[in-house]
Each structure stands twice: as structure tokens, then as C-alpha cells.
Symmetry: D2
Subunit: 259 residues, 4 copies
């Protein structure tokens, strides 16, 4: 359909019911709009600010839910890995292995992901320039895997804010298909309570700016009850707002494709 | 036409011929595309990094050229002022008085501009948040002038780079019609030779992201010979590329208007 | 005495009594510590965020108070100017003309100040690199005035914070004697209420880091009642704390001079 | 001796001879100046920008060299770990386990380090506020280990520069003993060639500003031949310059202690 693709789901796999419920909804919407869809869910959250934050329901349990989503709705899935030893394990269950932004400079991890033969989705570090992602992509290719993606999730802008540099999109698309992570880009980190804040009111603003600039994919975290999500509730999109958002974006992309 | 408007012209008025030549070209393009057009030109450049930079051809001479452009093509004009005493003088010749980004905190200057009854175009300081522009707009309104505009020209991002924060557009549109200054937003200041650099290859990227987010106007500096322009050549749009850019933007805005 | 010098006083001249009271106290302290002292006070505040902020008691009235302070205590004085036309007027009353950070790129203003033959204290713009101050100093020298100073007052670090880059001190000392403005460097601008906040608890931290790195002078705003000062109360030093701070700094500088 | 302590050594353990040679030199200098000394060396470099950068001579081989340095000169040692599984292994050989800045949010890694009972040196992420380090320290303490240190290695300042925020030192000292990593703080990342640059000319500036503000320790990478060091040569201190630097710092600290 020449459309953008979508990585979308909850931040963390909190359980089977919630995962299936979210997937079902997103599948319906994306089928309708002819948007290629990849279900996203983290099987563990290894990088919380505070030790008492939610970290997961158990690795294997969560990975099995990802597989079940894939089989139930016939969609590919993506999850993030945190140690080289996660790569082979997660590759048994999902189609895309995502390298978290903080970890994208860890060569062992990137190479372990590349060696599985799966797509490797490299998140741009908040501390990295778009140009520096060239080297991260090269590590995947040097391991013999041509399927690298880049995902931008915003750049540090003072201690408590992030900003998206849209000059980065054409820059990074020279190296690999580039995804814009809309919801994490709107995080406001380092808040005094140790829980990241956000600006979910700006989701459509950032998404439109990416789509109009030919970003290959979007990454959006969603939940039917963001206020009670076990992580990142402050910047998620409410599931009820997903269809309206995507409809607008599809119309914009159609125009862009015609230019 | 429910279209965005355009502030466009050379950085500085270098002479009558170049001003008329640029205006004639832009008028033709914008008439065709039904874009309301305001001719832009500085009558003096008061804030160069280096003292040996070009500062102008003489105030009155330049202002008279602005008037001639206005009369010849029946378009309004905009110029920037630098001291309170410039306001009344420039108001004799132009329709919009622009407050430079470095000077937008100077209350005397803003009030002097407001008192002329002309439109006051307030550039957001590179050091200011979008939210802080609320106070600048209020200064214009408190002087009894309801015609304030805001123009974003990028925000400091380290010493030698600027970034556009697109969250600022919906934020500032709450206070006043908001313009995106595409070419200055792509400056790269503080270069070691004392002349500002730029990224003109990113003009369409930044312009699209603004247009898709309902910015009210665009500000673009253009020249038929940027390499030999007397100021800001490093980030100008070549006049030959203006029509293609604007055609794309009009198509995008039409789609956005239909959502 | 091979000591650092001190620019110190209230933010704004609020009246004769408060100016004399502050000067008397600081003179006593600095005489004792053998610190060359320049009394600082603004005769108008032209760059407030909000129009209802305090702007001054009247230009001539305030300048006469500056002269009275100078004559009473036999100390030089410094004030900031905002338009070229202020330069000659202020030069009648004070010894050092200070160019505000937002205005240091305004060539007319810098040249007007230089032409008075007074010392010209150039504040580094929050948006400027240390290296870029070379050009500002050159403008003073090109006007035939060799007495330029540079003052660092912090650099933009996200919308609501400032940071001091101490690499800038040795860099800028290559161009001119360099002053560290401790209190403004601790401002936190763009706060939602339109009044700048601050971190006065960090005054000694920043001052020490400057003194140990051979900064030529310090700039400190002080008041006997910061909470009720008419401007910048949020980041001033309480007058009661000045002597203790300066004693520590003198001891540190003495050690540094001996290395 | 009430002095600051020093973590110092080469970036990477390139071999036994170079490690012993550097250690011998630093031991002599620090013994003389009564500076408690911890020998620093990385046993692997896991986070290079480019895959063809040097990553190490082999884990066990390098760790054995660290032990040999410790035994030869009777000094404690520190090395950095990158995966939870490194913790127990490295703890067999060294006294302090260091968590790299990019990895300080990885709870598994921090807890694994804490569980060894060794001192855990937490590097502040370039993307983190000083205040956010409170949560990292808490993770160590919650694991029953009271021996956490914090090390500041600079904060992102635009894509290609770093800055040290000295307000962070008193802030972080509230949570744990705080070290200033002088040489990494002067890195200039994201350079176009994929190798980090630096400003080694500013080492003494940054070190002095830390010492005068009561930082508990300093971290300095040194080499007898920085230009040929296998990593981070661009910002290392030449071993020949270490004694002069430390002598100055000891004198400054002595004065500060007497205040």
C-alpha cells in the first residue's frame, strides 16, 4: 500500500488478556487503514529509574504471550532486549529485536541481535546525533545481517525535557529504514519523583511532522487505560484515540506520496 | 483561500533592482498558488557577529525601496527594527514591524512597535521557551494593539546548532498567529570564522513539519544568488527552488484542512 | 593586591537609601579584603519578561544615585545600557558601561558604548559560545577603545535552566579580562509565571570554580532583603552572606596565585 | 590525609607492561602527595562507536593484569562491567566495580554489582540530572550494599559537546561520595569519523573546579603515549603532566579544607 508501518502496543506485557485486547483493537484499525502492523511489548523492563518500578511478569511468560499475539492475529512482533544472552531467547518468539536507546552503543548486544538473523531495530540514544547511527547500523551489517532499522525516540534537551530533531529523519533514512517513536519522544525524564513524565497532548503534532517527512514507520505505545498502565503511563496514547490519529496520518502520507 | 501566508524576500535590501527582481518572482509564484504574500527585507543589519559584516545601504534608502516594492506589486511589506526610535520611522514605509529574536525581551522596543498600530511580528528568542512568548504578546496587547504575530526561528541546541521544537507551534498559536521562520531555524551559529553557517538542504523538511501542524505563516529568506548575498547566504533558499517547495506545501495544507 | 575585582550591588537602583546602604556595606567588606570594588546598579530594567515587572525609578534619578554612591565612597560604578542613545548619557555618571547579554550582538550599541571611552563590559549572550565573544571584543577595539571586559552569565541549558561552562574562562581570557556573573548564571528562566527563578544555594559553588580558574572579576547581585527586591530576588545573594563568601574566595585565590 | 582520592590509569588494559609502567608512575606521584590511589583499567571496551575500534585483549587476561598491578604496588583497582554476568567475575580481581554511564539505568547490572559486596562506582548518565542519581544509589543500598560512589563524566550539550554542571557536585554528595571524571567530561562525541574527540587542554580547569568544591575523588585517564593509546587518546592526560596537575590540586584542597 506504500504506507508507513506501525510498531504499536503497550509498554510492558502485563498479562495475556491485556495484550490480546490491545492487539485485537490495533489489528482492526490497521487492517482497515492498510497499515502494516508489528505488535510491540516489552518482556522485561530493565532500565527503570527506581528499583520499585514494575519490571515485568517473568521473561518466558511474557515472551509466550508475544507469540500468542502473533499466532492469534497473524502479525509480527517486536520486543526489546537488554543483554547479549537475551537475543537468542527472544528470537525464538519474536520477529524484530529492539536495542534500547541507552544500550545502542553496546557492541556485544547489537552483534548478538544481528546474529539471530531477525530484524534489528536500533533506537537512537538520547545522547547521540543522527549521524552517529550510521556506525550502529554498520555493526549489524558487519555481522552479516542487512535488516537494520533505526528508531528515533527524541534527544536530550536539558535535564527534564526531550526534543525531536526532524533533520534527523532524512539523515538516518540514508542508513536504514527509520521509525519515529512518537510516545517516548514526548517523555520528560529526570522528574523529581523518579518517574518519567510526558506530553501526550503533543502526540499528533510529532507524528504528523514525521509522516510528512517520509518516516518509514511509527512507534506508538498505547493502552486502554494509560493511567493504570504499569509503566510509561504519562506519555502513552489512549487506545480510543489511535484510529483518529492514524486516519489523519494516512491521508497526509497519501498526499506526500503523490508529490 | 484558507492557505498559509508567506513572509519572503532577501535577508537585507541590497538595492532596488534586486528587491524588485525577487519580489516580482515571488509575487508570480504566490499569486499562482493563492498564498497571501508579505515582502520581507531588512533596512539595516544591526546584529552581525563581526563588525566588518554588511550592515546596509542606508536606512531611508532601504525603506523607500520597501515602499516601492509594495506599490509596484500591491503587496504588504515587513521589516525588522532595532531601537524604539526605529518604530515610527519604519512604520511610515511598511505594514509589519518585526522584533528580532535577540530583542524580543526589550519592552521599550516592543511597546514602540505596538504603538504604531502596525502588525507586530515577535520573533521567539533562541533562548526562550514557547510558553514565554505569551508575555511578549501581552506587551503588545497591553499597548492597545491586537495585531501580534509570533515567529519561531529555532532554539539554541549546544553552541553551534539550532533545533526547531514543533511542540511550540500549537503552544504559541494559543497566544497569536504563529509563523515558522524556516531559513533562520537552520542556522548554525558561533562558527569559528564569525559568520553563521546553515543547513539549507533541510528547508523542505522543516517547512513541511510546520505546515502539517497548522502554522499560520512561513518565513523564508530567498535570493537569486545566495552565494553572493550580502548576509545569511549560508541558509537561504535559492529563488529557483521556491515554487517547487511552495507547491508541495500547498498540497499538504489542503489535505490538513480537509481532516 | 593581585586579587580579583568585584562588581557588586543591587539589581536595580530602587532609591538612594538602599543604594547607599548596600554600597557602604560592600565597601567595608572589600576594603578589608583588599578587593577592588565597582558598585553595580541598573538605572532601568528594559528587558523584563512581563510588562508589569518593575522597570525603574526614572533614568536621571537613578544615574544621579550612582554618581552619589561613587562620590560618597570613592568607588567606580557600572550600569547597563539598552540603546545607543543611552551610552553618552550614562557615561556622564558611571565608569563602566555594561552591554546586556541579549544585546551584545547589537553593533550600534557596542560601538556607542566604546565611543564614550569608558570601560565596556560585554555580557556573553546565553546563546553564544565563549569563542564568539572574540568578535564582540573586536568591535570595541575597532572603535579605538582598548578597555573591553567580558562577563559570563551562564548559557542556555534547556528552556528552564542555565549552566556555566568553565572551559569558557580560559578561552575568553585570551580576548579580554573576564568576569563571572555568579548570580545571573544561577537563574532559571522561562518559568511559567513569567518571573525568573534561581538557585542562590549554588552561589559559592560557582564562584569558587571561577576564582580557582583565574577569573579576573566576579559579578554578584546582593540586597539586604532579596525577598523584597524589585527584581531578580530569586537568585541574589543576601548581603549578610557576602563577607563569608568573599573571605573564602580570597583565600582560594591567594593559593592559586602561589602555584 | 583528608585529601581527595584518585582513580587513574589507562582507558583500556592494553597489556601487562603498559599497565605496570603507568601504575608505577602514578603510585610514586600519589605516595608523595598523600593521595589515596585506585588503579583504573578497563578489561573490555564494550561500547565503542565503531565496530572496528579496539575492544580489548581478552577478559581474563586483562583482569589478571589488574590483579598483578594490585599485588605489585599494593593499591586497590577499579574496572567497569557491562553485563550482570561480568559482576561476579570481575569482583574476583578488583576492589571497585564501575557501572558505565550508558548502563547506569540497567537495574540488573547495578544489583549484580551491589551483590558482590564491592564498592559500586555509578557513572552519571550523560542524559541524567544529578538529582536522578539518587535513585541509582538507592538501588545499590536496597541490595544491602552501602558502598556506592557516584562519578560525574559530563552532560550532553548539543550533539558534539559535553559540559560539566558543577551544581551537581554538592547535589550528588548528598547521596554518596562523588568523583569527578575529568578526562571523559572533556570528550566531544558524535564526531563525523566515529571516534570521540576531546579537549585535554581543559583538564586542569575542570579538575580545579571540582577540587575547590569538595569533590571526594578525581578520575583521570592517563597514558605515557596518548596519541598511540588504543582508546580515548583524544582526551587523556599525558602521564608527564600528572604530577604538576596533582600538586596544584593538593594545594588547593588544603586551602579549602582550612576554610
Amino acid at each position: 500500500s506504500n504506507n508507513f508501518f506501525l510498531l504499536c502496543g503497550p509498554c510492558a506485557i502485563e498479562g495475556e488478556d491485556m495484550a490480546l485486547r490491545i492487539a485485537e483493537n490495533v489489528v482492526k484499525i490497521t487492517d482497515n487503514l492498510k497499515i502494516p502492523y508489528v505488535f510491540k511489548g516489552s518482556f522485561k523492563k530493565a532500565n527503570r529509574s527506581r528499583i520499585d518500578s514494575f519490571t515485568g511478569i517473568g521473561n518466558e511468560k511474557a515472551l509466550k504471550i508475544l507469540r500468542k499475539v502473533s499466532e492469534t492475529f497473524d502479525v509480527p512482533t517486536v520486543t526489546d532486549i537488554h543483554e547479549a544472552s537475551d537475543a537468542a531467547m527472544a528470537a525464538e518468539y519474536v520477529d524484530v529485536l529492539q536495542i534500547p536507546a541507552f544500550l545502542v552503543r553496546q557492541t556485544d548486544l547489537v552483534v548478538a541481535a544481528a546474529n539471530t538473523g531477525k530484524v534489528v531495530n536500533l533506537k537512537k540514544g538520547q545522547f547521540m546525533s543522527p549521524e552517529a547511527m550510521k556506525h550502529a547500523v554498520q555493526k549489524v551489517k558487519d555481522a552479516g545481517n542487512e535488516q537494520a532499522w533505526i528508531t528515533d525516540r527524541g534527544t536530550m534537551f536539558g535535564y527534564q525535557d526531550m526534543i525531536v530533531d526532524f533533520r534527523g529523519i532524512p539523515t538516518m533514512r540514508q542508513y536504514a529504514p527509520t521509525v519515529l517513536d512518537v510516545t517516548h519522544s514526548l517523555q520528560q525524564p529526570n522528574q523529581s519523583i523518579g518517574v518519567t513524565g510526558g506530553r501526550p497532548d503533543m502526540i499528533e503534532t510529532i507524528a504528523r511532522a514525521g509522516i510528512v517527512n517520509n518516516v518509514d514507520g511509527l512507534f506508538i505505545e498505547t493502552h486502554f487505560d494509560p493511567a493504570n498502565a504499569k509503566s510509561d503511563g504519562a506519555n502513552m496514547l489512549h487506545l480510543d484515540n489511535l484510529e483518529g490519529l492514524l486516519s489523519n496520518l494516512v491521508a497526509i502520507r497519501k498526499t506526500v506520496n503523490s508529490l
